[in-house]
Symmetry: D2
Subunit: 437 residues, 4 copies
């Protein structure tokens, strides 16, 4: 047996707390308390994860370490510190991960042109592995034996978090409160919060119209009012973009420079990854770009309706494809296209830290070595229109392409032989099969 | 030897006319004249194919049968008859193929969501096989032993035509004048026309700014002024759509009904395939929808810049994907996405009449049996936005999807086991490979 | 909500019996008894499923219907009837499914050349869906609300059975005793059997050296003595084939005829599917053919070592590929090869009744329409050697293939143009990228 | 226009000599003579390439440089030098490329488990790119502007050579005598040889029974007597292996050690790549291993029958798969299997030096980082049987895999949740689609 350690066996054991059904939980609390010493919680500072924080302390009787990441979600993080301190947390981690997020997660994924089910730019999916990784790093640093998150038992995020945890630390214990506790309605949650002195913002008292997740790449809306896939979402919901109708009547044109498949400058100004994506978000949002409304197939087996705003990412994908169109050879481009849906599926399903995603990334990155140059796009009321592309490694050759004199670079007679041999197998076949004639 | 007949051997023979280089052609004319008795020419009635008509008569000394198809290109076809008659053509075929085109070529391709290199809806590619098929049918009907077309030796269309010919009639002789003659500049062409009494419209005397190809699905622009991929095309070029800037300030909302993956009605009004696509073109064109500007990789090996207008097709693909999003199971959807680039490549390269395209079509069509329902889209200044989708076979289940009470249809605890087994292989792996911890 | 019915909700409910952990079971028995009225058990008549039969009666207090299938496993089935009767079973189904098994499951899979991880012919995997289907048919016939099987919680078979059940009857209740009970060692099982008057054969008293599964396609060996992947299995284990060493010194040559991808005759004698496979098993087994020893990746996440004997299937796959080699066009053949691993994975994982398997089958079957002819193979001491293949639809053309005079069917000069255009993109690329020169 | 140089235009020009048909050649000789200054010929020393050598000197009036490679074909190379000298060649290159061949071409391909059309180990295909590369290196070294080879116009080798040339040196001129000259029968060739004082071995005077190609990986037989795919080849043809019937009655067992996917030692003795493959060839050949008889689909469009002996390669592929079975994760293994047919197709078609092969290689090589360990195989009368496999990075875990007590590493209850969520989409679907119940 190669290496899964003793405490992992506890985590995977038949009697492990996580799989005890609701009604049998009471008597197990002491078992749990014994089983976990210290847990690192992915803590946003909001109501739900504050309740989880308290619930972990109570249920497992263990020390909770909080970890709050700045992934560009656009919220103040210091209040999270204050809340955690108030709940007695001694080790509080608040990290600005924006540059790492964009450089090591968003950009590699955009090099692959990843698009889930033809429409979704994977804005939530791509953030989870980084949070998981950082939680595991912290767990090691502080000697924690468990991690916990606030994702529910119906969504994809629980898978993305936990697959990340297990990949990076096979013997980690995972606590998923939403799958364990009985606080399964908003009323019960609020009761629990009030009983435990957790402040409940008035906005959280009623049923929220939808749930949101945000980071530097996108914001998502799901649930409640959106659960009818025939109903159009209300305009007031959107936060990152104006509607195309409200966008300026004048188009904005920008030049986006790429190096090895990554965007590096806007209009000639070099920028760090996070700075560049922030700028693209501003440009896209101002021009009504990047909204999608879709029904997606979740990894856990159900269909789900989501609405997303990905202003900068939408510009980036269009421009990146245009950059590839003149710098990638036909066959490497087609090979990338062939494997793209699978790459997107892997990211969506939570298999970022997996050998299959890494093998695909190796393929993708090999194709990006010369994906360098500049793309000109026009932004106008929801449209991203490619207007020009150029590259020192361009494979577009005006002389060969021309229908006029090509100076002998292309011999039209070659096409006759080319077609003849392409068709040879079909001629042989046609004799047998095509009955038409 | 199974079946390739004697006259095919002539076509494929080492000494066949088509491969004789330009300067050696003179002495072969008599050979040619002997080799072809009757040729069916794909004849548009325009200057180039009129020159070809004459050139075929002169060079091969054979009877020429003309075939002119109405594929919705938006031109009068009767002038083609008059011209052909004037040049002594006795058998003239003018066919309205619009319904067949949309029903048997465009719709099957849209069931596959075909998109070449992530951007091109294959508007020209999909028309060629039908023209080829009809030419072969006519060849049989009139007892012709050869076919001819006006595609040049640098483009994809020659392949699409000729692969189609050979698949459907392996022993057909193919004459591709652009690869044979020496009329390789516009000046020479016009000289030839004038010498032979073929009228030359004044618009054709100068260098045209670009070449075009049109049918009910799209119009394409290529060449000359467009040959610099950094230069933005002039607004005056476009003919099928207003620019987003000039489109109405009020959005248009439509409901598109599907049956088994094919659109069948707009706003509740059932329409034939060609009628429906015509209507979608009007709606899309009026709202600035369906323009793309791209650099594509041709099958003959070069990169080429094209600009396309596909107003109706653009709406159709967006709506079809939305229809699939609630009626196709996740895995059949993903399987379709996985093979789509290959399907698109086959259509682009001209392999419509091939067993591999037919095998893929069988896969695609199998998935469309329940792709039935209605999609609501908003058209606004270049944007096609999905606003709603519904189906009697919808796989979206509001109760299961809800984060609220799901009446026991989904047991969140199941997710724990699901994740554990998904992660098991990665935990085993992590012990060896992920060195981080 | 489209259609999942009330009793399904019970099955999927948070409190459903099946997921109650071992130590909490006692108090639930009455709940269970209430929850299931009648269960159809896949019953082999062996010790394990006899214990399950009794356990179901005791634990769920419900009526048990037994179903025993003849899939060619080579055992008498009437003893199963006697045993079931003795345990008070009133409805006993014993069906000979051999022809259906081979015709509708084995042959479609062999049309796809399915091979899991390059080595496994899927002998066990392909039998499970048929058993599941027949159980569900019986459940409907007898008005049962549940089904049960004897597969353990670690293997693939539980998934294959249950995915089949759920696909065909979404509201069925599933009882998987091995995941529920606490009879987790052989000692406990035998105690339970003895306490309940179930006869225990002396061979079952000690630890068996391995577990087996058999049907007309193969027999498998797993577990215990085989759990060391470095250890060679003992010759005495094998039951369906002699070793190559013990096989005859004289080869046997046979001719296998195919129609549309299915074998239909041996040496000119037409046979039904099951008869033909039985005959191939005899021929293969006598000549030491069809043993493999492998480590496979289970769907539930672990690696497992298995040894298989598939004598007839091994001959069949070799011969089918040879039949395809002259009757399938290159590109349809390659497309089949491209999707084959995924097809095999679907069968292995238990997704026979899934839209994705059916879509792939549509693709595969489309390619088999002309896969008709005869293949000659030599069987000798473990080897299956193709010696000849012929077909009325052969695409092999001796005249074209010949390096000698081909009567003009192939113009060698065409190859020059073919290569030039194949290379054009690489020449363009080479200027930028291949730094060698 | 990026970089294709002036002399390349000559090569590609409409009037280029290579495409002039046979009967028009005479007057062009002077043009040719002017067009080529120095040509590097892939020269075996045999009759055909000796004739080519002379023909190049005569027809092009240019200097010929010969290049003879030792790729393990098993022939003396010094006679080639003597012959070349006798024909006035001044620059003669004879290189031992065996180690480079195995290390940089054969082994990378075996890391991918490449198998064309399920049967062919690509022994000829993989040698051509290396020859092409070395020819281009020499062309640069000696200042040659052209290269030439002895492959015919019907086969795949012409493509493999020439695509290699063009990739590595886009402006190289290529002379393919078999597509240009009129020496199209054996009689004419021998006449030409005799007229020019080239010695003709008596064995070459009659029609040879088949053509052969050999290197360290394999030997191939094609043509003539083999052209009837129903006829069994004569035993006397084989040169690298005894027949299974004649192989020893005692099996041979060997242990093959791998590092990162490459074989590095036999029975504990480390060996260089070429030494190891040589040894495997001896072992395989002595035990009747590695013969295949197949009909393959050539890239140029026809079916062709070939018989191959690949004794060492056959052992290597079986053992490599076994090594992967315990060291590669399921999903990386399956991803490799998914792309393998395409990799094999690329090698077969001659696209070794292409960005798509290199991208796939990057994927493959990423998966081989831990493919290290030892495989035990038994060789016996044509069979290669895996008997054991072990690795310091083994993912096989006996404790988890065991049906007995697994110390809590695997919780069988997890499987219930796993299956439930795997089936959820199918249950939803079943309500609509599976009509059975």
């Amino acid at each position: 047996m190669l290496g899964l350690k003793v405490n992992q066996r506890v985590a995977g054991a038949r009697a492990k707390p996580a799989s005890v059904p609701a009604r049998a939980r009471k008597p197990c609390v002491s078992v749990r308390a014994a089983a976990v010493n210290k847990v690192v919680l992915a803590y946003s500072g909001g109501l739900d994860t504050s309740i989880i924080l308290k619930w972990l302390q109570d249920t497992y009787g263990c020390e909770v370490v909080t970890f709050t990441a700045d992934l560009g979600q656009g919220e103040e993080l210091e209040p999270a510190r204050a809340k955690a301190e108030k709940m007695g947390v001694k080790q509080i981690f608040i990290d600005d991960l924006r540059e790492e997020f964009v450089r090591d997660y968003v950009f590699p994924m955009f090099r692959a042109n990843a698009l889930y089910e033809g429409t979704y730019l994977l804005g939530t999916s791509i953030a989870r592995p980084l949070i998981a990784k950082r939680q595991i790093e912290i767990a090691k640093e502080v000697g924690a034996d468990a991690v916990s998150h606030g994702a529910t038992g119906k969504g994809n995020d629980q898978v993305r978090f936990e697959v990340g945890y297990y990949s990076l630390k096979p013997d980690i214990k995972v606590i998923a409160p939403w799958r364990e506790w009985d606080l399964l309605s908003r009323t019960k949650l609020i009761e629990y919060a009030e009983k435990n002195g957790i402040p409940v913002p008035s906005s959280k008292r009623g049923e929220p119209p939808f749930s949101m997740d945000a980071n530097l790449l996108h914001i998502s809306y799901e649930g409640n009012a959106l659960e009818d896939p025939w109903a159009t979402p209300d305009e007031s919901m959107f936060t990152r973009s104006v509607s195309p109708e409200k966008a300026p009547d004048q188009p904005t044109e920008i030049e986006l420079a790429f190096e090895k498949g990554n965007p590096v400058a806007i209009d000639g100004v070099p920028m760090s990854p996070a700075t560049l994506l922030t700028k693209l978000n501003q440009l896209g949002g101002a021009n009504g770009i990047g909204r999608v409304d879709l029904v997606e197939s979740r990894f856990v087996g159900m269909k789900s309706r989501g609405v997303y705003e990905t202003p900068g990412g939408t510009i980036l994908q269009v421009a990146h494809r245009a950059m590839e169109s003149i710098t990638l050879d036909r066959e490497e481009l087609h090979m990338k296209d062939d494997v793209m849906p699978r790459y997107a599926e892997l990211v969506y399903n939570g298999f970022w830290f997996s050998p299959e995603r890494e093998a695909l990334q190796a393929l993708v990155d090999k194709t990006q070595e010369y994906c360098t140059g500049v793309v000109k796009v026009k932004l106008y009321k929801g449209n991203v229109t490619v207007c020009g592309r150029k590259s020192p490694f361009s494979l577009y050759d005006k002389v060969i392409a021309s229908f006029e004199d090509d100076k002998g670079l292309y011999n039209q007679a070659d096409a006759g032989g080319f077609i003849k041999l392409q068709a040879l197998r079909l001629r042989t076949l046609g004799v047998n099969r095509y009955k038409m004639l």
